[in-house]
């Protein structure tokens, strides 16, 4: 028996050890959440080493990735730069469309109030001189535009068409020195003629005893048949009365902002 044990002691020892580990495993399966002393010791001992090793590996990875293995970096950089550029362009386009949307909504609201058929147009050019005040729009005789049609913006009157080509028209702004529009003060119905002064308007032939005050709204009177009645021309800024003059000197700031004019409406028909 002793010889037998001696001969197979290695296998016996192995079987006992295997059984012990299986029993240990089986026991630990039931104690899932408990940390054994051994585990705790190993973890405690390994933790600083593991942290150091991890740091070392990270450093190596960093050095390798950032300084040594740069085969695709330049290509990626170019791709990302292009992508960034494309995204910026799209963002700018999106912002521009958003702003245009706001302006067009205002124009549409204005068309509803106007109660007349109107054709939207884009401003594509300005006057080639420093003294005349005209603009060029992208709609012409092919779109049915004719000389004399009034042009407005959401804020007020812009001018009237003076020349048409098949695909463009020239608009004489109300601020041009040769422009004269029959006008009246909205509050008191005092009449006059709004003439252009380059950047603003003057109200001529307004009688001295007419009640005009700064801040009054100047609107079209509808006389002359070019502009519909009641469209905003500007706001009175200066009123001067000379006792020896038959008329008062009146100046007005335009309602439409001519320095930022991008979309306009051409009124193409009679009252609905």
């Amino acid at each position: 028996m002793r010889d037998l044990l001696k001969r197979y002691r290695f296998f016996l020892f192995a079987i006992i050890l295997l059984l012990a580990t299986v029993i240990l495993y089986s026991y630990n399966l039931r104690q899932k959440t408990a940390t054994t002393f051994f585990e705790r010791a190993v973890l405690t001992f390994a933790s600083p080493l593991q942290t150091s090793l991890d740091g070392l590996v990270d450093s190596f990875k960093g050095v390798w990735g950032n300084y040594l293995w740069l085969v695709d970096a330049r290509q990626q950089n170019l791709v990302l730069a292009q992508e960034n550029k494309d995204l910026r362009t799209k963002l700018q386009q999106s912002e521009e469309i958003s702003l245009q949307n706001v302006r067009l909504r205002r124009l549409l609201a204005f068309v509803d109030d106007l109660d007349r058929p109107a054709l939207p147009a884009q401003v594509i050019g300005e006057d080639a001189s420093n003294w005349a005040r005209t603009i060029v729009i992208d709609k012409g005789s092919r779109a049915g535009l004719l000389t004399g049609f009034p042009v407005v913006a959401a804020d007020g009157v812009v001018g009237r068409i003076i020349k048409t080509a098949p695909n463009s028209s020239r608009v004489l702004l109300i601020t041009d020195a040769s422009s004269a529009v029959a006008a009246l003060i909205q509050r008191t119905r005092t009449r006059g003629v709004a003439r252009g002064r380059g950047n603003d308007l003057s109200l001529e032939y307004a009688l001295r005893d007419g009640d005009i005050q700064t801040g009054d709204l100047l609107v079209t009177s509808g006389m002359g048949g070019v502009f519909p009645k009641g469209l905003a021309l500007g706001v009175i800024t200066v009123v001067e009365k000379d006792p020896f003059n038959l008329f008062q000197q009146v100046q007005a700031e335009t309602a439409a902002d001519f320095s930022h004019l991008e979309e306009v409406l051409v009124i193409v028909g009679e009252d609905k």
Binding site: G125, D127, A128, S129, W131, A132, A177, S178
Partner: protein, 178 residues
């Protein structure tokens, strides 16, 4: 004919720049009148007949893109070209400084002529209030533009070629060597 086609194309290009590009950056008074500069340059560089026809052509182009009546700039440029021709007979057109002085004088003359024509013929008296205060800014804009134009001309003198009669370029005046 080749020359006038070239002047026509340059005139169209300049008027497009003036009416569609410069308004994006400058107020009306600070926009240089490129066509006026070109007219003055041709007045100094070309023969009298050719300069007059070019002036009329460029005036008509500018009239098409400005105001509402054809003929104003045709008349103004005709007067300016004839004045330039008369002056250039007495002066050294090789001098770049002369070109700048003529552009200054031409700018003032052009503004005055436009003011007179508009006030007398078109009954647009308020235009004087727009034109006259703008003269200093117009002078500045035109002088800076012509200085840039001359700088580019000097820079690319080889491309222009050794042709006699180019004002402002030394050794290329039509009177050089006479």
């Amino acid at each position: 004919m080749k020359h006038f086609s070239l002047y026509f194309l340059i005139g169209i290009l300049f008027v497009f720049i003036q009416s569609s590009v410069l308004p994006l950056f400058f107020s009306p008074n600070l926009r240089p009148n490129l066509i006026l500069i070109f007219v003055l340059y041709l007045g100094l560089s070309e023969s009298t007949n050719r300069a007059i026809i070019a002036g009329l052509l460029l005036g008509a182009i500018q009239d098409s893109f400005c105001g509402h009546s054809l003929g104003l700039y045709v008349s103004v440029y005709l007067i300016i070209v004839i004045s330039t021709r008369v002056l250039s007979e007495q002066m050294n057109t090789e001098s770049s400084a002369l070109l700048l002085v003529l552009i200054a004088g031409g700018t003032i003359l052009q503004n005055l002529l436009v003011a007179v024509f508009l006030s007398i013929l078109a009954d647009t008296e308020p235009v004087l209030r727009i034109l006259l205060p703008a003269i200093p800014q117009q002078l500045l804009a035109n002088l800076l533009s012509s200085a840039l134009f001359l700088f580019l001309l000097f820079r690319f003198q080889r491309l222009v070629g050794q042709r006699p009669g180019l004002a402002g370029l030394i050794y290329q005046s039509k009177y050089h060597g006479l």
